[in-house]
């Protein structure tokens, strides 16, 4: 299957390519050729592409340690996308909205978003600085692994926060309650940005829950045996 055709069928895959750090100019390459060129296993690539296509991965999929290192890279890239692309974009739309309309609750909405954004950044920092380095240590078998013994993959799973919940609140408030009229272009852009963010966050947590955490638990079990 040609990658270009897949993108045609589901443009969201562009986001996936970006997270894999693969250039959009995919020429006539097939998925296999592309994977080989970028050193990504086809198994991993297809699993994640399936998530983007709305298909669950098969259970008990096994991934190599190299795969998992790449999963972490992938997740780090998506963090970059949230931090420096999606959230600033949403933030600027809300700012504009606030400037265009006098309704006072928009001020609160902006405050709500900023508090939310701060929480998100904290969560991303936590993953970047604690969770991911832990996984890397686990995967690369470094000698100082014992130093981090108190941390575990399960704990990482527990740490998933209510990021998606607050995003839903924001959407509901804008769809159902906040009194704004007109300005449809701006509001549509804001909605699209929120939905794009929600979609990628959803995939993000699916990758963590169905690929990274189970694999981490497996490795920990193997070590304790």
């Amino acid at each position: 299957m040609k990658m270009a055709d897949l993108i045609d069928a589901n443009p969201n895959l562009l986001l996936m390519l970006q997270h894999f750090n693969i250039d959009f100019r995919v020429s006539d390459q097939t998925v296999l050729q592309l994977c080989t060129a970028y050193g990504i296993s086809e198994n991993l690539f297809v699993s994640i592409a399936n998530l983007y296509n709305g298909l669950a991965t098969k259970e008990h999929q096994t991934y190599t340690r190299d795969d998992l290192v790449q999963v972490i890279d992938f997740l780090k890239h998506s963090h970059h996308y949230y931090r420096f692309d999606k959230y600033p974009q949403i933030s600027s739309y809300i700012r504009q909205l606030q400037e265009n309309h006098s309704e006072k609750e928009l001020k609160l909405l902006e405050k709500f978003f900023h508090e939310y954004f701060t929480e998100v950044i904290e969560h991303l920092d936590y993953e970047d600085n604690i969770a991911f380095p832990y996984f890397i240590t686990l995967l690369t078998n470094e000698a100082d692994r014992d130093r981090q013994e108190r941390y575990s993959s399960i704990e990482y799973g527990d740490h998933h926060t209510d990021i998606e919940m607050k995003l839903k609140d924001l959407k509901h408030l804008l769809l159902k309650y906040v009194n704004i009229e007109n300005d449809l272009n701006l509001r549509r852009k804001l909605f699209f940005a929120l939905y794009e963010l929600e979609f990628d966050l959803y995939i993000h947590s699916l990758i963590e829950e169905t690929i990274l955490i189970p694999a981490g638990v497996d490795i920990e079990k193997g070590q304790n045996a």
Binding site: K107, L109, K166
Partner: protein, 200 residues
């Protein structure tokens, strides 16, 4: 005036558990009549002829029958539901008002049930719907928006913390908004509170 005796039904197929609960109830100070039921159907039949104050239920009876259970709860809002917690069902809180385990002391169980009874009398016929939220829910929401803790809200409204939590769940279910700051914006948009009253 002597208050009428409580009508309590126990919906639990195990005869041993039923007998045990019935004995605890009859030996307590609660003036009650106890009905024993084995199925949800029997409960529906009974409700048609006798109003119940409290239903004690094995929540397994609700499994896969959530829709009917909700309907019953809606149809008989004055009936409180106490679930027996077998440690298996996690989401029972939606359908029951409180729960106890078979290892709780008799005193504790009776204490919980009499609290349910009091709450019933207190909450009573307050079903003034406004913007989908009940009067009570609006009061709880107003407290929340003003930054009060559950305990403070409970004290000022003379209800239990448990009831406050239940109202909060209902507010979230009805509005689709879960976070406190989100609810603040909701309350302002709906003009439940004035923006001037809020610290920004």
């Amino acid at each position: 005036m002597r208050k009428p005796s409580l009508h309590i039904a126990i919906l639990e197929p195990s005869r041993i558990i039923c007998e045990g609960l019935q004995t605890i109830l009859y030996q307590s100070d609660l003036d009650c009549r106890v009905h024993r039921l084995e199925t949800l159907e029997e409960l529906m039949e009974l409700l048609e002829v006798t109003p119940l104050d409290i239903l004690i239920v094995n929540p397994l009876q609700f499994v896969n029958r959530e829709k009917e259970t909700r309907k019953i709860r809606k149809q008989y809002p004055s009936m409180s539901v106490a679930g027996i917690d077998y440690g298996i069902i996690q989401k029972q809180s939606m359908l029951t008002d409180l729960s106890f385990t078979l290892y709780d002391s008799a005193e504790h169980i009776i204490h919980l049930l009499s609290k349910l009874d009091k709450k019933n009398r207190a909450v009573g016929l307050q079903e003034n719907e406004d913007d989908n939220l009940t009067k009570r829910e609006i009061e709880v929401l107003t407290g929340l928006v003003n930054g009060k803790m559950n305990k403070e809200i409970a004290d000022s409204l003379h209800i239990s913390i448990h009831t406050v939590v239940r109202h909060r769940k209902n507010i979230t279910m009805k509005t689709g908004i879960r976070s406190q700051s989100g609810l603040t914006i909701y309350a302002i948009s709906k003009k439940i509170v004035a923006i001037e009253d809020i610290d920004i």
